[in-house]
Structures are given as structure tokens and as C-alpha cells.
Amino acid sequence: MTLTAKQYIHNIEQTAADLGNISIMELCGTHSQTVAQNNLKSLLPKNIKLVSGPGCPICVTDQTEIDLVIELAKYDIPLAIYGDALSLPGSEASLEDLKQQGKHIFTVYSVADALTLQKDWPNIVLFGIGFETTAPMTAWAIQQGLNIFSSHKYFPPAMSALLASEKINIDGFIDPGHVSAIIGTQIFQQFKIPQVISGFEALDMLETIDILLKNIKNQNQTVVNQYKRAVNDQGNLKAQKLLKEVFENRDTNWRGLGMIPKSGMKIKAKYQKNDAEYIYRDLIEKFKKTYQPRPSACRCGKILQGLITPGDCPLFKKICTPENPQGACMVSVEGTCRITYENRQ
């Protein structure tokens, strides 16, 4: 980054003056956090809109999966979960509720913590949430003998789904920085839209928006890598190899986006002895026979596509709050609803 914040903002204003109303989607929830923590929206010209996308693994976890994991907990299967997932609301209760009822649910910072817990709880299951940045850790842990319930997802298929949707009106993407560090930059070339892979400091994002607006103006769809210090074109080959070794793709439901083909990471058959979906297949079969997800007025789905804002949801602030989340977008610190709730400004 060679310019100052002031200079980037000046450039952004100059380019924006030649454009109509522009919508940029920051795909990654951590980018949404940078935007919120620095109130970047207040620095942008009025015709440039930033919209949060579905890059929040907690937010896009399907209701059925959450209820399934909760079912495992109800059967006294010990769970290791990343802290982000603790308050995810199931149809009847959250994992936090079950923890307080005495179920063995442990929050972990890393899979290493889960493996340590395994010494006391041999059948502990890690609830694997996250995209290509986090899935390699899970893959490594499976090879160490940890049981996993995989809710991991590949991110690029979601980008395809967004672009294929007629409802969405986005002029450019801010691509996820750390997913790119793993998968590289080439894979994004398939998407015919101006896009920039961005770092996570405020200055990174200002430079990104500067570049992106210029490319939107010129209709330049070449993928630009603004986060060169962490992302190289090839990505992390070791991590990619590990992912290929352990996971294969499957069709999976994303909250709000519906079923996205080949977007889920399923544990390969050779690791089935550590795959919770295989180990507990009878329990899961029984659960699915009678399961009906509870209908809810939660509109997370539309929010994740950038079609509406949290204020448009009838539950927002009135019933749905961080203490009593009705949907995943309020649970996650990166969730659009949570960010909006916590920023009155």
C-alpha cells in the first residue's frame, strides 16, 4: 500500500463521480468487520454501497445441520466447537443451552485443543465449520484420529450461485483474503465480474475499493490481488493437498442461498471411522425421519444475499438481539445483523 488513507479516499471520490449507483459485495465476514470497526461506510461517496455477502460460515450453516449437531449433544456425545458456534440457535435450543443443561460441550480455539480433550473424552466430535481456511485444520485432525462432523464448505461455488441469481445486483466483489491464501488466485478468474482479493487492515480495504471502482468503471474483470503479502497465485499447496486427501464435494444447503451443488465438504470413505455422519448414521437416520425444521420469520437468507438489510427484517431488534438471536446472522460477530445491531452510528 503506497498511498495514505486520505489519498485512497480522494481517488475513490474521483472515480465514483463518474459512476452511477454502485454496489460492492464484501464476500468475507471478516472484511465486514473491518468495515464496521473503522466505520468505512462513512468515508465512501453516497453512490457507493457496500453489501455484506455470505462469507460467514456460522451465518450460512443450515438449520438442519445445527439441529443435527444438537441432537448428537442430546445423546450425550461430547462436542468440541469453535466459540463462534456456541449461540447458534437450533429449532428448540442452542448448544449453549445444552451446555448449561450439563451436556459435554467444549469451546476450543484450535483442533489441537480438541485432540487434548479427546484424552478424557475418546468419542468427542469436532463440529467442523468454516471454508477453505479452516477445513485443512480439520483434515489434519482427522488424520490424527479426531472424530469430525463436517459442515465445511467450499467458497467459490457460493460465488457462482450469487452471480447466477437474477435477483442480485452487484457490480464488484471484494474477494476473501484468507480463503485465497489457501486456494490461490486463479480460481476466481472464472467469475465474470470485477474483483479484488483484499487484506484486512482498513488501509487494505481502502486500496481495494480504489482499485475495484476503477475496474468497475473500465469493466475490467481481471482478478487483482491486493493482499500479495499473504496471498500468492498458487495458494498453499500443502493445505490444498490435505483437503483433496480428506474431503470430497457434495451438494449442500446454505442458509439463505439454498442448495449449492458441489459446495459441501464430505469426509471421504477412507476416513469414515472418524466421520460422525458415518459413526452415528443410525441416530442421524432416525432423526431425519421425523425432523421438521421449525419455520421462522428470520430473514437471514435474504440478508446473506444482500437483497435486504437487517432493518427490513420484522424480528430485528424487537425479538432478535445478540442475547436472543433468532438466526445465525445475529449470532456471529461477523453476521450482518449483529454488526448492524452493534453500530447505531
Binding site: 473503522n38 435450543a93 448449561q100 476450543v108 468454516g130 442475547e323
Partner: protein, 324 residues
């Protein structure tokens, strides 16, 4: 999601919004009319005429009970001493109640008692009464300590005294106690030690210049400055360039996905101070720094290094690590 009102939730003890609801509900149950004031502050006040009696209590459970820079004993007495001190009182006596798990080490109890005594000696504040209970193994985690204290004050520093134009100061770097406590749980090494210490001398040395004062324990700066802003009906704006946190503390928050504003300190105070006397304060307290300003309006905000304003809300209180 259904909220269950039949049982107490762990969040209700964390110092955040849900704690406030529980406390309000409990207060509603104790409604004997009385002449005490400041019952929503760090300590309650009784007007004796020529001076004011200040009274407070606090319960302590911490894991680990021994940590770099202190132990549960030191924490317990400093906590109550500081609650009295931030009200402007000079503590005159403390009580110490112990609930000890059967099987607890006598040596550990000795060490804890020595810690308590050390603070008492250093501050000249005597332990004048107490209680001791031993409970069946497994019914409590090692030891719980409750301390109460009384103090005397001429003028009370209320949390509702901040005025537009005041400077916000921190008496030193914040968050180090929490950073030390988390290190065992999340398996990292740090040279940081707990900031646990008594604050009476520091506060007494600048008493006339303080308009509002709190020690940012549970809930950190977020909860405590929001409380001052709410009660004083002002807006507080912190400056990102002057935030009082060591790099190591910020690192821990970045690593675990926590907000620095939620970290507790056990031997620091934050205050709204007379802007004309701030230089006197900084001369008196070598580690203090100006971290923000009081303005008209409401809420707690951070002025970022990009000159934008970002609101800081109190969190739920629990410190849970994140990866996203």
C-alpha cells in the same frame, strides 16, 4: 430460540447486559425504604453529616487461583478496597469470608492469607472480621472469597458526574489481568503480570479533580465507560491513537477474536476529570494518560485513526474465543 427464565444462565454473571437484568430483578426484591444513596454505584453511601459512610461487598471465584502478579486473596481485598476508593472513600476496615472446598491445600490457604495480609499491611486497612466455612469436596471449586468493606469520604465521586469538556484518563495500561488469566486456558506464554493492586493512594492524591471514576473490572472499558456515559448523560469519545493497551494484550485479543474493550483490569481506574487539572493529574500519576474526551450527546465511541466514529457497546460479558 426460546429463552428459559426458569434457571440462571452463566451470562448473567458476566457483567454484561444480562447481568444488569438479574441484578435489577434482585434489587426489586429488596425494597425496604432507606436513607442510603448511590446504591447503583460501586458502593452504597450513608450520610453521617460531617462525612459519608461508604459500604460495599464483592465475591471472588477465579481460575487459576494463583497467577503471575497475584492470587485470589490479593484479588479479593483489592477488589473491595478499589470499589470504595473509586467512590472517593478512604477504606477503614474489611471483612473476609472464605468458603473452602474439603481437601484444599493448607499451604495454598497459607499463601492466600499472606497475600491478604500483605495488602492490608501495605495500605494500612485492617481485616476486622470474617467467616470461614468448609464445604464437601466437589460442591465448590477450591475456594471462594467474599470481601466487604467500609470507608469514609468527604465528597462522593458519583458515576453520574462526567461533564462535557472533561478529559477521560486511564491510570495505566489496561487488560493485563484478563490477559494473564486467559494464558493458562488458551495455552500461551506471556511476560505480562496481573495489574491487581490497591488504588486508594492514587485516587486520594487527585481526588478533587475527579468527576466520575470506575475501576474497569468485569466488562472492561466497554461496560464501565458506557455506565459513566449513561449515568452522566454524556457522550464519551475515545481516541484510537491513545488507547492504553500494551501490544501483547492487543495480540491476545487478535489471536482469540476478543475485543480489547471487554478485558478486565483489577488495579486500574478510568475517570472523567477536570480538563484544567489534567496536567496536575498526569504529573502526579506517572503512568496515567488521556484516552478520550467527554462531549454532549450519548453513548461511547471510538474515534478511529481514520477519523471515523465507531460505537463501542458493552458485550454480553463472556470472553469466548472465535476463529471467524
Amino acid at each position: 430460540m426460546k429463552t428459559d427464565n426458569k434457571t440462571i444462565k452463566i451470562e448473567q454473571g458476566s457483567g454484561g447486559a444480562q447481568s444488569a437484568e438479574l441484578i435489577a430483578a434482585l434489587r426489586n426484591a429488596y425494597h425496604l425504604k432507606n436513607n442510603w444513596t448511590n446504591q447503583n454505584d460501586d458502593a452504597a453511601v450513608y450520610d453521617l453529616g460531617d462525612k459519608k459512610l461508604v459500604f460495599t461487598t464483592d465475591a471472588f471465584i477465579v481460575d487459576p487461583i494463583f497467577f503471575p502478579g497475584g492470587d485470589i486473596g490479593k484479588l479479593a481485598v483489592c477488589g473491595t478496597i478499589n470499589d470504595l476508593s473509586v467512590m472517593g472513600a478512604q477504606p477503614i476496615g474489611l471483612s473476609v469470608s472464605l468458603v473452602i472446598e474439603e481437601g484444599f491445600s493448607r499451604t495454598d490457604l497459607q499463601k492466600i492469607s499472606e497475600s491478604i495480609n500483605k495488602i492490608s499491611q501495605k495500605t494500612g486497612i485492617p481485616i476486622v472480621t470474617g467467616d470461614t466455612k468448609v464445604i464437601d469436596k466437589g460442591k465448590i471449586d477450591k475456594i471462594e472469597i467474599t470481601t466487604s468493606g467500609v470507608g469514609l469520604a468527604h465528597d462522593i465521586i458519583s458515576n453520574s458526574g462526567a461533564r462535557p469538556g472533561d478529559n477521560i484518563i486511564a491510570s495505566g495500561d489496561l487488560g493485563e489481568h484478563t490477559a494473564v488469566i486467559l494464558s493458562k486456558r488458551f495455552d500461551y506464554q506471556t511476560d505480562l503480570i496481573s495489574d491487581c493492586q490497591p488504588l486508594t493512594t492514587e485516587i486520594q492524591s487527585i481526588l478533587p479533580y475527579l468527576h466520575a471514576c470506575k475501576d474497569p473490572t468485569r466488562g472492561g472499558m466497554a461496560a464501565n465507560l458506557n455506565e459513566i456515559a449513561d449515568k452522566s448523560k454524556v457522550k464519551i469519545v475515545l481516541s484510537e491513537k491513545n488507547l492504553p493497551y500494551k501490544k501483547a494484550v492487543t495480540s491476545i485479543c487478535n489471536l482469540l477474536g476478543l475485543s480489547i474493550f471487554d478485558l478486565a483490569s483489577e488495579g486500574r481506574f478510568i475517570a472523567a476529570v477536570d480538563p484544567d487539572k489534567t496536567d496536575n493529574i498526569l504529573a502526579q500519576l506517572k503512568n496515567a494518560k488521556i484516552i478520550g474526551k467527554v462531549e454532549t450527546g450519548s453513548g461511547l465511541y471510538l474515534k478511529t485513526s481514520l477519523d471515523t466514529l465507531k460505537e463501542i457497546r458493552p458485550s454480553s460479558g463472556k470472553l469466548i474465543p472465535r476463529i471467524c
